[in-house]
Amino acid sequence: MIMGSNMAECHPVAFRWPLKAKTDHGAVLMHVDPRFTRTSALCNIHAQIRAGTDIAFLGGLISYVINSERWNTDPFFREYVVNYTNAATLVSPDFRDSEDLDGLFSGMSADGKVYSKESWSYQRHPAPKPSVTEAKTFTDFLLQRIPGRPKTDPALNDPLTVFQIVKRHYSRYTPEMVERVCGCPKEVFLTVAETLLNNSGRDKTSNITYAVGWTQHTVGVQIIRTAGMLQALLGNIGRPGGGVLALRGHSTIQGSTDIATLYHSLPGYLNMPDARLNHDTLKDFILTEATPVATSYWGNYPKFAVSYFKAQFGDAATKENDYGYEYHPKITGDHSHLPMFVDMMEGKIRGFLCVGQNPAVGGQNARFQRKALAKLDWMVVRDFFETETAAFWRNSPEVRSGELKTADIRTEVIFLPSGIVPEMEGSFTNTQRLLQYHEKAADPPDDCRSNLWFTYHLGKRLRALYKNSTSGRDWAIKNLTWDYEPSSAEVANWKIKDEPSAYRVLKEINGYTWSDKKPVPSFANLKEDGSTVCGAWIYTGVIPDEGKNLSASRQGDNWISPRWGFAWPANRHIMYNRASSDLRGNPWSERKKLVFWDQGAGKWISPAGEGIDFMPTKAPGSKGRDDGIGFDWLGGDDPFIMRPDGKAWLFAPAGLVDGPLPTHYEPYESPVKNPLYRQQANPLAKVWNVEGNPYHKVADPRYPVVVSTYRLTEHYLSGAMSRWLPWLAELMPELFCEISPELANERGIVHGEYMTIETARGEIQARALVTRRMKPFVVDGRTVHEVGLPWHWGWQGTAHGDVVNNLSALVADPNVTIHEGKVFTCNVRAGKRGGA
């Protein structure tokens, strides 16, 4: 099932595989999407749903599955769900569901801004007596803080079991309700539900694939969770052909998340120190972060964290100075992309490094973002072409309209030309967590340099400027380990001799022993005593030995291909793969065999060469220690080793700010009232009530039409890597708006001619592409029209068009601050903007 993704369009080569499954093996492909797209055209079933109603649809599937005869009679489902998920766990009697509170959960603060999660927590047995009396290490402190095991009812009868709570929560998500909310005929919904159920079980698995069609919502995280719940209930996680596959956007967008250049995260999914929390010292930081998850593999948090700080500050990082923790910056709020531009507009941000992004086109409420750029003292742009962001001061729509004057824009702009992938070496992490290495084929031309070159040489210059400082505020930059000089062999064939060594950076990411500089082969080798450095523990093993770079291994096979690249963690391609076997450690079926227990050898094995995502010698059925952490606490039937109870979470007692169970909320801007609850939209959606960012009210008569933004095969995002290529420009030369004949007739919009799309944020013109691939939805008895806008165009390059993001708003998911570009409201009319 492809949902929240237009896979054929946006990941055409990956779509090779599901299509092959369809043509060669009879797999059924289903597409659930508001539009009939190139993906829908190749799928067996297309369920057309109103944009932003994914949780209603998925919740309907959950309800259908757990009430079906097959699910309740096939022992496979019960064995998987009772043992591998938290279905049997008992939740606090104080918990109140959104069914009880009309769309809210228990624990909401009086001002409606934050949930207290106490009532969402598990019922637990008494805490064990700690095995350590006097704590000497961070690990010892964790050992003193282990909670009691969660209470369970494996019969799933107790009304406080997660299972019963989930069942009640989705009891009103019936096929009829799905039709009413999503505008998808009941029969089509039932076909999808039956197909999923019939293709899940011991012998078969179903996969769900998504992309930004799910993330770009104010309920984005919760949509993905609903899919995770559905797959857990269907026994489709940790098994070949199952799972929830995220199709990510860029060549190493996964790597940018893993090795985070994101404000909230340190590399390897350690959290960024946050001055609002008890993160005052390294011990406070580690205990605050690791205590709630110490009974999972995160029990090793102290080793990962200390090795990270040691990697940053080297010899200067000692046990006595908390490994330099005091000097590491702390965040104090949401410093992500959207608030970054709000703060830029307010003058708080004075200087801006823009490395390979084009927010003047790609940013939500792009007019706002461009105007914020004009408030800067300086901006450095690194790119291949003169992007709209680089050129905003001379020819942006605001400059051309006279709203801004070039002479008044005081922003000093430096454009540094960037090298392109074949002109440098380095690793990318693809959407499957697979690291692959690209070699350098040619020197970049003229002043073009790799981005690593830029950052390395900027760092060298800054370190020289701070060389003589004795101030504590400069301690970090002074003591940063900063030596990635290339070996003579690495640059022998090239004109550019000061290109830093990507290999040496990757080695630091991998980790090595500080004393002898030898790479550590596994994250199990990392220490919390400062003897190891490691930039990102999850990548450990990519360089298991000096000179051996597994991301550059290029030997594929016909299946898992363990010797093609390196899949983090530890070359595991399918996460939680202990779940591919039953309670006795036997494969669920011959057909779906992956990782299983070899009784004779006393270990888990995988003939396909898959990395074992479990403790290799922990026997099925074995019990964990109540007073242990990490693998000591987990039992032989706890496949979900990154969860503190070893189970897949149907109910999330922690980790989400907006509720333990996904609930249908309308998009922040919607023409309809929430048919399910009085609570209209996500109560915790992030909004910025600032000038230049007005929102539309619910069912605002001025903006009755729903609009969705998306990509095309022929272009790439803001166009910075496609609109300057005539070969691509001529394939999709101009912005168009996809609109149904019904709406076009209503508004007198003519196919092929210009039409105007308008919101309170902006107004754009586009060619009308009138097509029945767009469909009016009937919701609660009234018609809701949708239009679609691909957003690749700008005013630079060899294909021009208005900036679609001029229309969108700064509004975001409360968990991760991703915007809601997939659905907001607008109005449409015939003719060019400005009434021409």
């Binding site: 190139r38 829908s40 190749l42 005539p726 001529e730 394939l731 029945r772």
Partner: protein
Amino acid sequence: MPKGMFVDTSICTGCKACQVACKEWNGLDPEPEHFRKVPGTPYPVAFNFTGNSYDNTGKLSASDWRHVLFIEQINYRRVGSRWLFMSDSCKHCTDAACLNVCPVSAIEHTDMGNVIVRQDKCVGTKLCNKACPYGVIKFSEKTRTSHKCTLCNDRIHNGLGTACAKACPTGSISFGEVADLKARADARLARLRSLGEAKANLYGYSQAGGLKVFYLLMDKPEVYGLPENPVVPQRRQVSSLGTKISTLLAGIGALVTLRRRASGSVPEGERRETNG
């Protein structure tokens, strides 16, 4: 053994990778007709929006040797909706009209059965342009010669397949021995028919003496703009033009001289753009 391509439109996603891969390998320019100058931009900008579904290139040309058709079949109730795609190119006819009409024999079948325009011989009479029943071959104002798909003549003579078939993400275009491809096409048609695709059919087995590029279509050929019975002018028809030919030939002599002077006589498939 003749080589060719089988285009299975039932698994085409309309991504146009074939169009770009063709241009990349063969060093083809963007189509000049698609670009024009606009105020404020120092280079030409594409303006060829057609509104014809996702097809903006519209046809084959001297620099577009491949073209992907988009056919939306959706009724007002949105039931049984289909969006058909077809990647089109020269079909490398066994009985090739272009070859038959060329007065200077610039068009040839190679030993592999593909039809190529010898750029060192073409003098730009454009007779082939008119004769081709599929509108494949086109005259270029830049080179003053006619151009079309060569079946990647250089690649296939060096043991490779065509660039489009190689790039095709779903395997919709396959290159190989015609006999093997036909076996595959027959099997694929039988499979689709068994799944209830009653309209599926194979195109190109009988037309123009047998096409070396043939298609599995999901609807009748005319839906894709393909003639059921293409008219192929025969070689002798050209001779019967009689006296007209001698006049023509006189002109051709001049054209040859002009052409040789204007550009190096480089065979198609070896031309290489060094920048875009």
